[in-house]
């Protein structure tokens, strides 16, 4: 049986992993390559790195770090932040990443999704989205897409954007709830479930993981294929083996041998 994936997320700035709440107040947690190696040894199923300042500073992401990670961990990992062109995508993939994650720049230029899928295959192209809850009836799903780390609203409906991204060739969609991000109060189940039920590609839940029960809920109730964690493991409060043991106990298919 295909197992549910547990994916540590490393927000990176100058090769250091940081963690903030609602995209603000970032604190340094450690060296990115060292933390990646540690999570790999602990049995994480995949990793994701966001170069959190690359996009805002309009500079390419840190290729040297991607190469170091690829030499150290022998599992798939995705890289996002500041990826604007096919050249950027190519550099990241050739450095050893399995996937590139497009976010703000795909909102501005959706064709990059199609171009990336044509050039490298859909399995390499992840769409990351940061939806925020809204009461505005202009958004049928009840969620609006934000970009630039919640700094800018786009006027785009979250579900419409997810469907469009799938049509364009995105091979996976990461749904990062702005409302839940950094709260550690649980994933946004309604939002995740809405997207997961309505697209044919795998959906990764992100934002709000605080304990193992939160992961179990997003797998069983929202139908997520994978879940991203950050603060709950970065602080050392939980380890990946702890979380996986809890998930196995909850009857969720999880990779147990590594």
């Amino acid at each position: 049986m295909l197992t549910k994936r547990v994916i540590p997320c490393l927000d990176v700035r100058d090769k250091k992993v940081t963690k903030g709440v609602k995209f603000q107040d970032n604190v340094v947690l450690g060296d990115a390559v060292e933390l990646a190696a540690q999570y790999y040894e602990q049995g994480c199923d995949e990793l994701v790195f966001y170069d959190i300042t690359a996009s805002a500073e309009r500079r390419p992401i840190d290729i040297e770090m991607v190469q170091e990670v690829a030499q150290t961990v022998h599992i798939p990992f995705a890289v996002g932040g500041g990826i604007a062109t096919l050249d950027d995508m190519s550099r990241v993939l050739l450095a050893g990443a399995e996937k590139v994650s497009l976010n703000s720049l795909a909102v501005r230029n959706p064709d990059i999704i199609a171009e990336g899928a044509r050039a490298f295959g859909s399995q390499c192209v992840v769409l990351g989205m940061d939806p925020v809850k809204t009461d505005d009836p202009a958004f049928p799903s009840g969620y609006e897409i934000t970009i630039r780390g919640f700094r800018e609203r786009t006027g785009m409906d979250a579900l419409e954007w997810a469907r469009r991204a799938e049509e364009l060739g995105a091979g996976e969609i990461v749904v990062n709830s702005v409302d839940a991000d950094g709260t550690r109060q649980g994933f946004e189940l309604e939002l995740t479930g809405l997207i997961a039920r309505n697209v044919g590609v795998p959906v990764v839940a992100s934002g709000g993981a605080g304990n193992s029960r939160h992961l179990a809920e997003v797998f069983t109730q929202a139908g997520a294929d994978a879940a991203i964690l950050a603060g709950m493991i970065h602080t050392g409060e939980f380890t990946i083996p702890d979380i996986k043991r809890d998930l196995v106990r909850a009857g969720i298919p999880i990779r147990q041998t590594w």
Binding site: T3, K4, D45, G200, D225
Partner: protein
């Protein structure tokens, strides 16, 4: 020396680093002499079978691969490299492949709409018969898969291990004489994947 065949069908960086982690000398190449002179050959691949076959023909490598596979040296296919070893694939409206492994490659057509295609993630590999490639690998270990099409062997004795997805049980490892091939990405499957690659570097290519 191990030759990793580069035919512009995907990214070979992870294959290179996986062998480096094992301390094994692997050369990424599309040079026929290097491939035919190598002690072992790895034939990876990502993307669509049609594009892969076209690249092989454009580079004149389809005959080199047949020769390398026919020479008796240990030969490992990975993912799309595995798929194009078969007679044909349903992908891209039907593609004639290398014909080194009897059978064909078919698309997942799940009856349950919530089953996603491609299969993306870690799934169990269940051993069907012993093979040196799987030495020391615990039965039902998980490996990393990314694929929309699966190998369907026409001779059951070529099935080395099986995996269940989207209502089918397919051959996730196939073997015939000195050829062995995995549908999963052995280079991205963590420690168990590295162990499989290490087993390959020790295998003499004889069928068990």
């Amino acid at each position: 020396m191990i030759a990793v065949i580069d035919y512009k069908a995907g990214n070979l960086t992870s294959v290179k680093w996986a062998f480096a982690a094992l301390g094994v000398d692997a050369v990424v190449t599309h040079d026929p002499h290097t491939i035919l002179g190598a002690e072992r050959v790895v034939f990876p691949g990502v993307g669509a079978a049609g594009a892969a076959m076209q690249s092989l023909k454009d580079l004149g490598l389809h005959t080199v691969i047949r020769d390398a596979a026919g020479s008796g040296k240990p030969f490992l296919g990975i993912c799309v490299g595995t798929q194009v070893l078969f007679d044909a694939s349903e992908e891209d409206g039907g593609v004639e492949c290398l014909g080194l492994m009897p059978g064909s490659v078919k698309r997942f057509t799940p009856s349950d709409p919530s089953t996603k295609v491609p299969q993306m993630g870690w799934n169990q590999v269940n051993v069907a018969r012993p093979h040196p490639l799987l030495d020391g690998i615990q039965d039902h270990s998980e490996f990393y898969f990314v694929h929309s099409y699966y190998p369907d062997v026409s001779d059951a004795s070529h099935c080395v291990a099986q995996t269940d997805y989207a209502d089918v049980t397919f051959s996730s490892v196939v073997g015939r004489d000195n050829l062995v091939a995995t549908q999963f990405h052995v280079e991205k499957s963590g420690r168990v994947g590295l162990r499989v690659l290490e087993n390959f570097t020790r295998w003499n290519g004889s069928s068990c």
